[in-house]
Amino acid sequence: MKILVQTEAFDLGAEVDAMSRGRTDIGAIASFVGLARDLNEGSGVQAMTLEHYPGMTEKALAALVDEACSRWTLLDVTVIHRVGRLLPGDPIVLVVVASQHRGEAFAACEFIMDYLKTQAPFWKKEETAEGERWVEARSSDDAAAARWVKS
């Protein structure tokens, strides 16, 4: 398991290679990259700054990876989240999940992203032509995370 919060860019190919190199038991690697878009809520975004809560962030990410590992049989997980100032097109977050079978890899990867969006202490501030604004939490993200609550 690898969890990083960093300002630098990450390398999806290198992370997936590192995860699978020398192993012959992995059948499926699902991955996700979230990128900064130039448009949000209908207006142009020139840049964004990601703030986080050092200490709690790592703890929250570790907790949600642990939760994923308790729900599915996973062989490895990598989560990297960037902080600081990012431009449209820049990658923000990376989640890679390795498993024997694809169903588990897909489900765990999407679960981690959905929980990360609602449970990990990151905040986005966007720079637009009209000035700066803090991004508001989306009800669609709460709904996505709620899908995973065990009934």
Binding site: I92, A120, R138
Partner: protein, 83 residues
């Protein structure tokens, strides 16, 4: 008891403070929020009933009825928007 209180994102900016140490005579997160609301101005406004904010105690999100241990690290912040 003593508390270390942290603010993040919009709250940090509006309050104009990232971190403070408080002497606290209450018991729960709700008591702390009431103490901060009583400062009036942006504090009363941002922490009013019905405003969306989160409280974490020692880096775990809690509900407002959570008890605050002495020397706790308490953080108050808007709903998260990462990813």
């Amino acid at each position: 008891m003593k508390l270390r209180v942290l603010y993040f994102a919009r709250l940090r900016e509006h309050f104009g403070v990232a971190e403070e140490t408080l002497d606290f005579a209450g018991a729960t997160a709700a008591d702390l929020v009431a103490l901060l609301q009583a400062r009036g101005g942006v504090w009363a406004e941002e922490l009013a009933a019905g405003r969306a904010f989160r409280v974490a105690v020692n880096q775990d999100i809690v509900t407002l009825d959570a008890a605050l241990p002495d020397h706790a690290e308490v953080a108050i912040f808007p709903p998260v928007t990462g990813g």
